[in-house]
């Protein structure tokens, strides 16, 4: 057992694929009872989709088609599970590795690839998708999420019992980001205002090359307690735990219970990014240990025991290949962004310097007569 696993955590699906709800986690078990087989299949489909997407993006980066790729391999259960635990009005503030959460909220995967190919800095509509933009500065988005949740509270959209209107906010961040002051300030502001927010920390055990042990002396789910933000640890490779615990605490937040923190213990099987080389700082044994705890394998075992057969898994694999081909072709087909885009959105209102510089740049480029 990994030393990080010595802390109690919510686990509904064992690494061997056994489903069991401990008595003291019954409140979470209720959320699983509501799920249909179709929900389970959707969970698996999306995890597989996320994995295939991730692998294709890595290959595209290795082929020079993306400036960078940020793999989420190993964290699919934490992301897909919690993503489906988010309600229909809720807002999500991701960090930069939440491809799985994005999948659960209908973000076009090409939007993410566009950003990593360098076509733009994000650009999807956060109001429409309720999935906000990726944030590169660690922890910065958690304050935005907190402010948004404060606004929800000021709007009176919390605890009214009107499920059509009430909403909560969830913010994702990693174990490394917990060291940022912005996270602590978020706990403080959220607790003081009792705003509807769930802090979802994916503890993937490595902040690039720094292990969690070098980031914190106490388990991270306890980080919010001193601010008045209670927390719980879950098995982040257990998609059912991730779904149930997120859904439960998002419901609570929406109903006015104030902020809550979930620490999902998972593992970053891949590199931090394609620029990283994890062989330099962690052992093969450790990676093998966690690869054996692959969240997809665990859930596949569970599904097969539920009677799901090869037909489904073959279909999923085929869909994955189709997706890979689609995004590969779409990536190659992404057009060069027009130079106006650099200037277009800097301000929302007219700005003389921007107008002047764009005008100059256009004339400058035109002075080459289109030659290169």
């Amino acid at each position: 057992m990994n030393e990080n696993e010595s802390v109690p955590m919510v686990q509904l699906l064992s690494p061997e694929g056994d489903f069991a709800v401990p008595k003291h986690y019954a409140e979470y078990g209720q959320y699983i009872e509501r799920l249909t087989e179709e929900d389970f299949l959707k969970f698996y489909r999306d995890m597989a989709r996320c994995r295939r997407f991730d692998n294709e993006a890595t290959a595209l980066q290795r082929q020079g088609q993306l400036g960078l790729w940020i793999p989420a391999i190993g964290q699919e259960a934490a992301q897909i599970g919690s993503g489906y635990g988010v309600g229909k009005n809720d807002h999500i503030f991701p960090s930069y590795r939440e491809h799985g959460v994005a999948i659960t909220h209908g973000i076009e995967l090409m939007s993410i690839l566009k950003m990593l190919r360098g076509v733009n800095h994000g650009g999807w509509n956060p109001e429409e998708t309720r999935f906000h933009l990726y944030a590169i500065v660690l922890g910065s988005q958690v304050l935005h999420a907190t402010g948004y949740a404060m606004g929800v509270k000021f709007d009176g959209k919390v605890g009214t019992g009107n499920l059509e209107e009430d909403l909560a906010v969830i913010s994702y961040f990693g174990d490394g980001a917990t060291a940022e002051g912005d996270i602590s300030e978020s706990f403080l502001f959220a607790a003081n205002t009792q705003s509807p927010i769930v802090f979802f920390c994916q503890n993937n055990q490595w902040a690039i090359s720094s292990p969690t042990a070098s980031q914190t002396r106490v388990p991270l789910y306890q980080r919010g307690q001193g601010f008045g933000v209670p927390g719980i640890r879950i098995d982040g490779n257990d998609i059912l735990a991730s779904y149930a615990v997120t859904a439960k605490h998002m419901d609570d937040a929406r109903e006015g219970a104030g902020p809550f923190m979930i620490e999902a213990l998972t593992y970053r099987i891949g590199a931090h990014t394609t620029s990283d080389d994890p062989t330099k700082y962690r052992s093969e044994e450790e990676v093998a240990y966690w690869t054996a705890r692959d969240p997809l394998k665990r859930f596949e075992t569970f599904l097969r025991r539920q009677g799901i057969n090869d037909d489904f898994f073959n279909e999923v694999a085929e869909a994955g290949e189709k997706l890979a081909t689609e995004i590969r072709e779409a990536t190659f087909a992404l057009p060069q962004p027009p130079l106006e885009n650099m200037f277009k959105y800097v301000y929302s209102e007219p700005h003389p310097v921007i107008e002047e510089q764009l005008d100059w740049l256009k004339r400058y480029e035109a002075s080459f007569g289109g030659e290169n």
């Binding site: 980066q61 290795r62 082929q63 400036g67 360098g118 620029s275 005008d359 002075s367």
Partner: protein, 453 residues
């Protein structure tokens, strides 16, 4: 259908510039699929397996294991289907060139070490070094509509010739430079009067007014014919005959004019100080010679020869200078002096004087003169009535130049004043032409800027 595709070594780690081929996982003839690992490379950051971007049959491995390859150079070629997606980015490059590039990298390990890989982004742009894009239009002004555009050619107009100082060595504030450019004034030729030795607005305006006077006067072009023959007939022939029948063979007429030569003296001083004239003797005689050349152009009749049948008007100037030598007065001339620049003329005068002093003046030097100057001022006299050099119809005497009272703006000021005297052959040169000629010479002495044509 198929085509050849290349896979260029990508930057796999945010700003890397090269990688070493560690091991090939394929060989020529192998069939590969999209994303099949084909090679393991080692970069400055990590050991990385590269997946193939297209499906096809490997044609060639373009680098050997152990080679260091630059990012952007092809590493394999393959035969792929025409519609293969990943192949569209591949850039065909000759194998020889690639091998050369590989060799270059290997040979310049030191250069490779100098590269500093940055840690963020898409790879350093342009690994092959900077290339300037070809521009089809003029530089782009940064000015906006709200701001007055600066004229594209703010430099001194070309017709002002090379300034005697480079512009930047002249002290002048930006608006003064602009004013000078607008007025066509060469700042290098303006005498600064500013407190810091800089050229003032007044200095430029002063020069500009001289220049504008000049612009209002046109200098006729040199006729294309070397000589122009005017038949002596009618009234002119009658006058000539009358003159000949008079007591004089060549009827001399002399006129005089006093002139303020202050600016000529300043001009001489500036020329002396200029780098272009370094080592060359500059005297008022030089300005006088130039003045006569200009006046001749405007009054060609003074540069002529009288014969019984015709008056030969010379469209060239062989400029005679009366020189007192140990062997007596001689008048060597500078051939085609009107074609010379100020500097060339100065050098020619200096050479002529030196030759005469040394007694080496040849008959050819004295032949075919067309007009003459005698610098009697060097003897300290104000003026005189010089005798025509035979075969010529005009001679000018330059008197001494010295401070004298002069009326300027209704006030008496001390100015450098001289007298210009001239004698003409009245058979050819009437009084009005003679007067205009002398007046023109005097104008230049008073305002040498007239020469800035």
């Amino acid at each position: 259908m198929s085509k050849i595709a290349y896979f260029n070594l990508p930057d796999v780690g945010e700003g890397l510039t090269e990688a070493e081929i560690v091991s090939w996982k394929v060989k020529p003839g192998d069939t590969v699929t999209v994303n099949q690992v084909i090679v393991e490379i080692e970069t400055a950051k990590s050991l990385v397996e590269l997946p193939c971007p297209f499906a096809g049959v490997i044609s060639e491995l373009m680098a050997a294991e152990g080679d260091t390859v630059e990012v952007g150079k092809p590493i394999i070629s393959a035969t792929v289907a025409d519609d293969a997606v990943g192949a569209t980015v591949a850039q065909a490059e000759s194998v020889a060139a690639v091998h050369q590039a590989v060799a270059d990298v290997a040979a310049s390990a030191a250069a490779a070490e100098e590269r500093t890989p940055n840690l963020v982004g898409y790879g350093v742009a342009d690994p092959n070094g900077p290339i300037r894009r070809k521009r089809s239009a003029a530089p782009v002004s940064t000015n906006t509509s709200a701001i007055t555009a600066i004229p594209a050619a703010a430099a001194v107009p070309g017709h002002l010739a090379v300034p005697t100082h480079p512009e930047t060595q002249v002290l002048a504030k930006p608006p003064i430079r602009k004013l000078a450019a607008d007025l066509g004034v060469d700042l290098g030729k303006v005498t600064p009067t500013g407190l810091n030795g800089d050229i003032t607005r007044e200095d430029v305006l002063g020069s500009a007014s001289q220049a504008s006077v000049f612009r209002n006067l046109s200098t006729p072009a040199v006729p294309s014919e070397r000589e122009e023959r005017i038949p002596v007939k009618g009234v002119r022939k009658a006058i000539a005959n009358a003159m000949v029948s008079s007591a004089f063979t060549a009827p001399h007429v002399s006129i005089f004019v006093d002139v303020d030569a202050t600016r000529t003296m300043e001009y001489v001083k500036r020329l002396k100080a200029s780098t272009d004239f370094a080592g060359t003797k500059v005297t008022p005689l030089l300005i006088m010679a130039k003045a006569m050349m200009w006046a001749v152009r405007r009054n060609p009749m003074v540069n002529a020869t009288f014969t019984a049948e015709e008056i030969i008007v010379h469209n060239f100037v062989n400029f005679g200078i009366a020189a007192a030598t140990p062997r007596g007065l001689i008048v060597p001339n500078i051939k085609d002096a009107d074609k010379m620049s100020m500097l060339e003329l100065a050098q020619a005068i200096e050479q002529l004087a030196a030759t005469a002093r040394e007694g080496k003046t040849t008959p050819a030097d004295m032949k075919d003169g067309t007009i003459t100057i005698t610098n009697i001022g060097v003897f300290g006299v104000d003026t005189g009535t010089p005798i025509l050099n035979p075969g010529e119809v005009a001679i000018v005497a330059l008197g001494s130049i010295r401070p004298k009272p002069w009326v300027v703006n209704n006030e008496i000021q001390v100015r450098q004043v001289t007298t210009i005297g001239a004698t003409f052959d009245h058979r050819v040169v009437d009084g009005d032409v003679a007067s205009r000629f002398v007046q023109d010479v005097a104008s230049v002495i008073e305002e040498p800027a007239l020469l800035l044509d």
